[in-house]
Subunit: 292 residues, 2 copies
């Protein structure tokens, strides 16, 4: 696996691949990889000819009181995992090259970033879309791959790509979970043993919501109440939000008539975890299809 | 000259040109072309293999009380002028295709857009950079051409291209003036005959500033006062701003030790005109070169 650190070299790599008629798949990450990231690389390999993975802990997407300085890093382990799964190229830009003195441009998606995580992390998504615009312009991928765990991020990136006419296929991939149901996240490392056990309540609450909807429940507030009730029983968990929203606009929905996203964030000590599930009413819609 | 209206067709045109190893030159305009625009097309033809001119009166860059609805249009005349100068392709996207329902992404350059025109047109440059990001992604030009009359726009575009890693050469071209010194502008059409004559005071004031600096004047405030004095003698002119700034950061400078931009805006009736000149101290610097 090749490692590239310079923008100009990355750009040349991309031009060469394109000139050779190869499709480029791009998996942007902040490193400290887990099976969720690896599933993205696998899909990129399946769908494209050359797979680039970037590792860049992007300062722009961390708030002032967030965990930028202590964000977990283990480049040797990341490299081994990427070699095993068959990534072609690892891109490691430096923060000083990405944001030199005088840098002052922002890419911002407005509506879909205001709720959910955007409420407690008001500059986060602007940091994500700004760095992605830069990476997209340098790597010029044909397809890019994101996990559905960061569902709001996926919706935001889709929106940016569409709005700014990037010619890139944005592929979302299912959440990968540990055996006990906890969604994989680089931040799970922060959890104490007790917090790690307590964190199971999140996926358990989502499973209960799915079951309720499968059983015919369509009232959004009752489903939300059910989820909150399960998390509140866990004394180590502190809810940031539990919300039911449209899967595309991320606007709040009160009835589950079409697939709706139940998204949540909760703190376990100093660690904030997110999780979500798409709730699909049986048949996709209360109105029978032949009547529509 | 070929005319393209659809994004997908424009994108295919660009891909084809690039695959053929041709360099693409791009001149974005709002139409109602004049010799200033034509000078950009000429330079694009000189420097690149294929020249695309876009005409799009971009609603995003007009404020609520500005002249979007009455902005002058004459597509037949524009087309004739572009054919005469030898543009290859005219791109005419529609507002509904550029900004469909749900559009919500903004590209914003912060520091350099706050002063000068940004003060009285707070959302203008965000509209410019957003539409350019879209056009750059669709056309993928190797070089793009802007007039120095909109000097702040040129600086802003350079900044966006650099910050977001667009692989595009941004070329600035000198202001083209009418015989009496008035800078060419599509908005000159709005002027009454008296206002048009009065508008000469702008270029006259800039010429006086240049002469003062050539004569050794280095005090920014005195140069500014000189310019304001000349414009104020003209009763039909109402100053919006007269400012002396650094040519790159656009921060106010008080001493003319290096090339500095004297930029101004003034209203003649309902019409707002802009003009500028780069003031260069003899030798480029007060400190002799061998002493630096």
């Amino acid at each position: 696996m090749q490692t590239i650190e310079q923008t100009a070299e990355m750009r040349a790599w991309s031009e060469q691949a394109r000139a050779a008629g190869q499709r480029i798949g791009f998996v942007p990450t902040m490193g400290y990889l887990h099976e969720g990231h690896i599933s993205l690389v696998r899909e990129a390999r399946r769908r494209t000819d050359r797979c680039v993975v970037s590792i860049f802990v992007n300062p722009l997407q961390f708030g002032a009181n967030e965990d930028l300085s202590r964000y977990p890093r283990d480049l040797d382990r990341d490299r081994t995992m990427l070699e095993e799964v068959g990534a072609d190229t690892l891109y490691l830009p430096s923060a000083s090259a990405m944001y030199p003195a005088g840098f002052q441009t922002q890419v911002e998606v407005t509506d879909v970033t205001t709720g959910l995580c955007g409420r407690s992390r008001p500059t986060h998504f602007r940091g994500v879309t700004t760095v992605l615009a830069k990476l997209f312009n340098t790597l010029r991928p044909h397809a890019t791959f994101f996990g559905e765990k960061d569902f709001q991020q996926l919706v935001t990136v889709r929106r940016m790509v569409k709005d700014l006419d990037f010619d890139i296929d944005v592929v979302g991939m299912p959440i990968v979970r540990e055996d006990d149901g906890v969604a994989m996240s680089s931040r799970n490392k922060y959890l104490s043993s007790e917090e790690r056990t307590a964190a199971r309540c999140l996926s358990r609450s989502l499973a209960a919501a799915k079951e309720a909807v499968a059983g015919g429940e369509r009232d959004g507030r009752r489903v939300q109440g059910l989820v909150e009730g399960i998390i509140r029983k866990q004394p180590l968990a502190e809810i940031d939000y539990v919300e039911l929203v449209d899967v595309e606009s991320l606007r709040v929905v009160t009835r589950i008539e079409q697939p709706a996203l139940l998204a949540l964030a909760a703190r376990f000590g100093a660690t904030r975890l997110i999780d979500n599930a798409v709730l699909e009413p049986a048949g996709g819609c209360d109105v029978p299809k032949h009547a529509a």
